[in-house]
């Protein structure tokens, strides 16, 4: 009995690690290929080690232009979507209003609709309305599919918040604005920040919806798509590896900070508890 359970435990963990290997294989390949000098333009095989790709990431200047454009689009779309989505989340968690089911549907549906359908329908609208496609139609589309994710993320944070903290502030004669500025906002901020990061990564990486609404504007995913037919410059893998490293650093930093904050909070409450105990 004990042995079979021991085996069952190890068996599940073993499969899990194999699957994680499958999931991380492509990233390792991307990192490896970023140091590759390909045999020819259309070859995807590892050929020869070189640092050139990292030393001259912008050797193909189209690619760096596309990366810059993607970052700008991501930035604008993130700011707009985060503001719109956060306002909606506050309304949904903190206020009663008529038509809640309709609003919930409007927020949920974009997350359940295939990207293909959202992309083609926006294209149909822009063409019917005579709107020329380009940079701003991409921004509009990205805000559209990011808003729902912002609402969901901020809503989760707001719903888990202790209302008594705000009540305490109000009891201590803080005005509505002061309470919001000093209590509510700092407490919700982690939710808003993760919503913004999620929006940026969704926007930066979007291909399908962008492809239908870009006109002749080239974002980084659009560039990779086009280059896949002509031959991929190895610098694409440099960008891929750098993106991965930056995201990993952000996650590491936030978890470290979270741990530090938790430790600080613990350190602050322990003496408080002790004094409370001795007082009573």
């Amino acid at each position: 009995m004990k042995l079979s359970r021991w085996l069952a435990d190890r068996w599940v963990m073993g499969v899990a690690l194999l699957v994680l290997g499958y999931l991380s294989l492509p990233i390792m390949v991307v990192a490896g290929l970023s140091f590759n000098r390909p045999a020819n333009r259309l070859s995807y095989d590892f050929n020869e080690f070189t640092l050139d790709n990292w030393l001259q990431p912008c050797a193909t200047s189209d690619m760096c232009d596309a990366v810059g454009r993607s970052m700008l689009i991501g930035l604008i779309a993130t700011v707009v979507a985060t503001v719109l989505g956060t306002l909606m989340a506050f309304a949904l968690v903190r206020h009663g209003f008529k038509g809640r089911a309709g609003i919930n549907g409007l927020i949920f549906l974009p997350m359940a609709t295939p990207e293909l359908v959202m992309g083609t329908s926006l294209l149909a609208l822009f063409v019917a309305a005579g709107v020329p496609q380009g940079f701003w139609t991409i921004v509009i589309a990205h805000v559209m599919f990011c808003v729902s994710f912002v609402v969901v993320t901020v809503k989760a944070r707001l719903a888990g918040m202790d209302r008594r903290l705000e009540e305490a502030a109000m009891d201590l004669y803080a005005s509505e604005w002061q309470t919001f500025r000093r209590i509510t906002l700092p407490l919700v901020l982690p939710g808003i920040v993760s919503a913004a990061l999620l929006s940026f990564s969704l926007s930066f990486d979007d291909f399908i919806i962008t492809n239908f609404n870009a006109g002749t504007t080239v974002t980084f995913p659009m560039y990779v798509w086009g280059a896949a037919q002509r031959g991929i410059p190895p610098q694409v893998n440099v960008i891929g590896t750098a993106m991965f490293a930056i995201a990993l650093l952000l996650v590491g930093a936030s978890s470290l900070q979270g741990r530090r904050a938790r430790r600080a909070a613990l350190a602050a409450t322990v003496p408080a508890r002790q004094t409370a105990k001795s007082g009573s």
Binding site: M1, R5, V12, M13, V15, A16, V19, L20, Y22, L23, P26, I27, V30, L33, D45, L84, L87, M88, F90, A91, R94, F97, L106, L109, P110, P114, L116, V117, T120, L122, L123, A124, L125, V127, I140, A141, V143, R164, A168, D171, S201, D205, F207, I208, N211, F220, P221, V224, W225, A228, I239, G240, T241, M243, F244, A247, L248, T269, A272, R273
Partner: protein, 303 residues
């Protein structure tokens, strides 16, 4: 919190807000909702109506001359007839990919939720880590992994799972493998969130009552994980069916899915009525499958 309990709570009952403020606070939720809701109404809902209209345009028109609205419902059977193989292929590929993803994703989610101990967060990061880098770049990496002179193909040739000239790239297997890989995290995360709340004492109780591990899984773990399983399957299946990046980069026109056809209808052939009709057929197929699946899964959960 303990400290707060000692703080005198001011005047006790807060005074009722003055009438003008109450009027404002009734309007406030609508003001907060307006910009976001308007954006979604104009750029999500309205386009769907326009797409529905475009699918009924006269298919003899063109982008240059303009389309006439002729309520051409015939566009639907025509489009389906012309691209039936791609349509079926989309559903079959994503169904196989889903089956593979369940086989891999369930043990993974279970191990992280129940067995990982203090490594839990690290393993979770490893699950989402692929999404840190570009979807297209990752998919292209599979071209290297599955390449004809790569070690995977050589290994499979050595053990005679592939013929001496057999290949993986540009085959259905490559496309299905790519789909499985790309959408696996979407299946694992909701499943993990669900399994994390599974009380291990329930499994101990099952084993105390002489249930084999397999039986305990069937009777306890699986039924309790149904909500996570349903959410994960849908989050996997919906984008996988509509995907055409994997078919384009890892396959050939023989592996093209409905997305490839819709892409070319809108961007290459400029046949908007057909592209619109196919988009709606895709959405209808997905909605129908989701609906049937939710009903079936729902009853199983009750049983």
């Amino acid at each position: 919190m303990t400290a707060l309990a000692h703080v005198p709570t001011g005047s006790g009952q807060p005074a009722a807000p003055p009438a003008s403020r109450r009027g404002r606070s009734r309007l406030l939720p609508y003001l907060l909702l307006l910009p976001g809701a308007a954006w979604l109404a104009i750029f999500f809902a309205l386009p769907l109506l326009q797409l529905a209209a475009a699918s009924l345009y006269d298919s003899d028109g063109s982008l240059a001359t303009g389309y006439d609205m002729t309520w051409a419902f015939g566009n639907y059977p025509e489009a389906l007839q012309a691209y039936w193989p791609q349509f079926v292929r989309s559903l079959v590929y994503s169904a196989i990919a889903l089956a593979l993803a369940l086989l891999m994703g369930y043990p993974l989610a279970y191990a992280i939720a129940q067995k990982a101990g203090r490594w839990k967060n690290l393993l979770l990061v490893a699950v989402v880590a692929p999404m840190f880098t570009s979807f297209l770049v990752r998919t292209l990496a599979w071209k290297t992994i599955l390449s004809d002179n790569g070690w995977v193909v050589e290994l499979l040739r050595d053990v005679h799972l592939l013929g001496p000239d057999g290949r993986l790239l540009a085959t259905p297997a490559a496309v299905v493998l790519g789909l499985t890989y790309n959408f696996l995290p979407f299946l694992v995360l909701p499943l993990y969130a669900n399994l994390e709340r599974l009380d291990p004492r329930l499994l101990e109780a099952a084993s105390d009552l002489y249930a084999s591990p397999l039986r305990a899984f069937q009777k306890v773990t699986l039924p309790l994980s149904m909500p996570g399983l349903i959410a994960g399957t849908l989050l996997f299946f919906i984008p996988a069916t509509g995907d055409y990046i994997n078919a384009q980069l890892l396959g050939t026109p023989n592996e093209y899915m409905i997305g490839n056809v819709i892409d070319s209808a809108f961007l290459v052939r400029l046949d908007y009525p057909q592209g619109a009709a196919l988009s709606f057929l895709l959405m209808a197929a997905i909605l129908a499958i989701v609906f049937v699946y939710l009903r079936k899964a729902g009853t199983e959960e009750v049983l």
